[in-house]
Symmetry: none
DNA sequence: AATGAATGAGGATTCATTCAT
DNA sequence: TATGAATGAATCCTCATTCAT
């Protein structure tokens, strides 16, 4: 019986790493967090288990890298879009909508990050942390800019706004992530935005009243009999 | 040959259950989620491993019961207090403050619920779910009441408000739960409340309108025809 | 297909421990240090792998316990014999002979102790260390007693004598433990004893002097004047 | 596309071998036996893992070569010294002292040889064996010479003396090699020598007595009356 | 001669849960 | 009701060595 063993072709580390990540993501999508075993990933990637460890320190590292790749895609995809959107409110809506959409499209990956990776003790030293921070920092930045432009009332903590937005969304979508029902991305985005925006926007009431009065007075005095 | 073994004294099931829960909570506090092993709980509770299974279906059940006990305490403690507080804003502040305080005082238990219990697939069929729902429903109720009273603008989803509040708080406190830094319960409660309240409160346009009408009348009467 | 699984009968911990030790020793004898796998030990002992870990912390512990059992047997066996032997020289010979015989009969076990267990970093905190110390201390004790009795010259360090005896034997028998040739227990015991004893025994100068005087007197009386 | 990779400069095999040996020894000194990995050796030697295998059959071979280099140094260093020492006792003391000093200065290397290399099954076919034999043979040679010169009693086995000396020393120094305490090279050398020498030296008592008696008898018979 | 990517075997260990006594 | 001995599944990781380039 001839041995059918064949050495995997010699690939560049980048290609091999990418292959393994793709395989890992596929296995993860199919099996979920608990049943994602290294041997299956190796098999799919067309390498031997041991080879995975040349490119990834361990399983935990592999999972982080998986999530990092996901974040990188998202951040890159959004950059151009966000740059093209004008107005604080519109930009916030985009970010909110985007997050709701990400969760909706990639519930497994979301669960991975929310439940398993983010709570890790040394998460803060992670590249994923940096990426996630960049991802959420967009809110803080938009808020800070809006504040400068007078669209958002001053005195607010931009990072608190960030936590309100992402926290709200994630709390709202837990049921979906547990496979309990669905949600409407567009509608929910509007609801969240509405609520948050009210909390943020600079008070216009006082100014309008003055304006109204001023214009009425102006009108009346114009009409004054000569 | 006399056996020197001593049988555990026969206790009432309630007492036994309580003992085990106390032991479990102690072990959990000391060892954390991953290193909480049944044998140590049994030892502390003064029973044998197998006996735990007479009172708890399995470890998962035991953990849920632990968390349920925690929630029951909180809900009960708060009932009277909340009843004594008047005003929608004040009541919301209490609930926000309360949640921030719970997390601050019981980080382990919070992590257990947020990270391990709530994401469970059949969490929804759980008594913990019901308790948690009762715990968070207080927000929805207060909001609904505030809406009726005209303090809160209509058209809002009370459950969305609930998600905004608890989501914000939990997102904000993740770092703390990872043992990264601390937070100021009072200060944070005020910040969150401020932001949320702005998003909720009914517009005071009615008042401005009155003012506008009054001043118009005044102006017009000044110009009364001679 | 009927399942043929059967629970192992419930045994006393002592019996079970002994069974596992016996199995371990058998596997060790057959396979040697490197190929002694837990699964085979379990199989032979009639238990499941996991059960071994109820009685032994880990494989290392199991190996130590194996060696300890061996030492206990030896020490116990010898106690009566040694008590019955009179004379420092005879007692030393017994100990030397005994050690040579142990190595000869249990080369695997000897190798285990010499090569793998004794060099362990925390060997000193081990029960095996205590037993080994008791085993070798017999030399120190006999030497100390012999010194008191004047059979052995004073000023010697009994523990050094211990090291000389056991060190010599072990150095001499390394080749045998590597499966290179054999050795003659009796003959080697005599050789070692001879060499060591010369190093130990008190000088008999007093006796020679007596002899000299006696013979001089004899000579002189022969020549008595007629 | 120009490759920026730099090929290791082409060195003479002797130099490469030496470099790798130096690197191996450094890694071994830092990491110890268990954590000495080929990749680190390669890195230090400025070559790639695979290249090591051009110069050394395998890791085992590399370790043996490491130890061999050590022995060669020692043997060479000692040759002149030993030639300059006169007297059997003095020469033995030098050898004993030397061995104690070697262990004291190179505990890692000693442990390597004693624990890992010497017990190997085919150690006897090794160059290290030959070197070690040469190293220890100095004892046998000195003993044989001393026997011829009448300083050492006849009937002894020179190789047994060798085993006594090296065995004593190694048994005595095990604790030190386990990092438990230290020892005094000079003092211990004297103690060992004292004990061993007594076991070796030719008995002068008996001979002297004979001599004394003979001379007395001769004297007396000369004086016999005619 | 050098590279370095790929190989691949191999086993200890944990602990929730069960069930015969 | 209590006991506690027995179960048993399930997998990550290392690293010396090879060999195509």
């Amino acid at each position: 019986m001839a041995s059918t063993k064949r050495r995997a072709s010699r690939l560049s580390p980048e290609k091999r790493t990418a292959d393994i990540l793709v395989a890992a993501r596929a296995v993860f999508a199919e099996r979920g967090y608990n049943d994602m075993v290294m041997s299956e990933i190796a098999e799919r990637a067309g390498v031997v288990e041991g080879s995975i460890y040349r490119y990834f320190r361990n399983k935990r590292d592999l999972m982080f890298r998986m999530a990092e790749a996901w974040f990188e895609e998202m951040i890159e995809d959004d950059a151009a879009t966000l740059a093209a959107i004008e107005g604080t409110r519109n930009r916030l809506r985009f970010i909110i909508h985007r997050h709701l959409r990400s969760i909706h499209q990639q519930p497994d990956m979301s669960r991975l990050v929310f439940q398993h990776l983010r709570p890790e003790p040394d998460y803060r030293d992670t590249r994923l942390f940096a990426l996630n921070r960049a991802y959420t920092a967009r809110v803080s930045e938009v808020v800070a800019a809006g504040m400068k432009a007078g669209e958002i009332r001053s005195g607010l903590s931009p990072t608190l706004v960030r936590d309100v937005i992402f926290g709200s969304i994630e709390h709202r979508t837990w049921a979906f992530l547990r496979n309990e029902g669905d949600y409407d991305v567009d509608g929910l985005a509007d609801q969240v935005l509405d609520l948050v925006w009210r909390g943020l926007e600079a008070p216009r009431e006082a100014a309008s009243t003055q304006e109204i009065l001023g214009r009425i007075e102006a009108l009346l005095s114009d009409r004054a009999p000569s």
